[in-house]
């Protein structure tokens, strides 16, 4: 293998590395969104067993809570994007949240596959480079 080919291999490795980093960032963001949707689904489902006027704690950040009373158990406010939130019946909201979670889940699966593919390509290049290093070390030994 010529010096130029080795340089090309290293450059391809670096490109795959950058691609893998970007994919992993996207994956972690998608996983966080999926977890958030999972928490929302759990909370909405829990509303069906709650009572109107039941005491609840509303998170206000940093693990702190404000006392509140539940005003409704059959309707919730759902964010629809673009800075807009709508009042929806619980069953409709749950359906939307579950649909979003399924879509994100599919995205997570595809991103995971893409990461594995890129990592496979990187492993192949790494193996070729290691073989070259061994060969080079062997030939140096012969010279000595």
């Amino acid at each position: 293998m010529t010096e130029d080919q080795v340089r090309q291999l290293l450059s391809a490795y670096q490109q795959y590395q950058a691609e893998a980093d970007a994919l992993v960032r996207q994956l972690s963001l998608a996983q966080m969104t999926e977890q958030g949707l999972g928490r929302a689904v759990t909370a909405v489902e829990a509303l069906s067993s709650a009572q109107v006027d039941q005491e609840i704690l509303v998170p206000i950040g940093s693990g702190s809570y404000a006392y509140a009373k539940l005003a409704s158990t059959d309707r919730i406010i759902l964010n629809v994007g673009g800075g807009v939130s709508l009042d929806k019946p619980v069953d409709q909201a749950l359906e939307t949240l579950k649909k979003r979670r399924a879509e994100i889940g599919e995205g997570v699966r595809k991103l995971g596959e893409a990461v594995s593919k890129v990592e496979g390509e990187m492993a192949q290049i790494q193996s070729v480079i290691e073989q070259l290093e061994h060969a080079a070390a062997g030939s140096e030994g012969v010279v000595q």
């Binding site: 994007g81 807009v84 939130s85």
Partner: protein, 120 residues
């Protein structure tokens, strides 16, 4: 390597790199606007398909303000139109950069063709 190139060629190469960076920045900007536009359109569609009496809130920072459906629909439409306009502007900038890039590439090719062979 670049030390062996004539200053004019080095300058053209630097300009090409700069244009490439500008093109990348524009591309990022464009995909961000496209994403926001898509989100705005989806919100518009959702709100439009809701009843006239729907209870609707507008997110303002950490607050959610009770708002009017029709007023929000108009705001979303205006925002979507604004993004469309911004997309057109970015596309024009992209075209200008692409054209300058091609022009510079041709100049560089000519300069390299005229450059004296290395070592002479």
């Amino acid at each position: 390597m670049s030390g062996e190139l004539p200053p004019q060629v080095q300058n053209q190469l630097a300009q090409l790199q700069q244009l490439q960076q500008q093109a990348q920045a524009l591309l990022n900007q464009k995909s961000q606007i496209e994403l926001l536009k898509k989100e705005t359109e989806a919100a518009y569609k959702e709100l439009e398909s809701s009843s006239d009496q729907v209870v609707v809130y507008k997110n303002v920072g950490e607050l959610m303000l009770r708002s009017d459906r029709d007023k929000l629909l108009a705001e979303l439409k205006e925002r979507s139109d604004l993004m469309e306009l911004r997309l057109k502007t970015v596309s024009k900038q992209e075209e200008r950069i692409q054209s300058r890039f091609t022009q510079l590439q041709e100049q560089l090719r000519q300069s390299l063709g005229q450059a004296p062979p290395r070592g002479s």
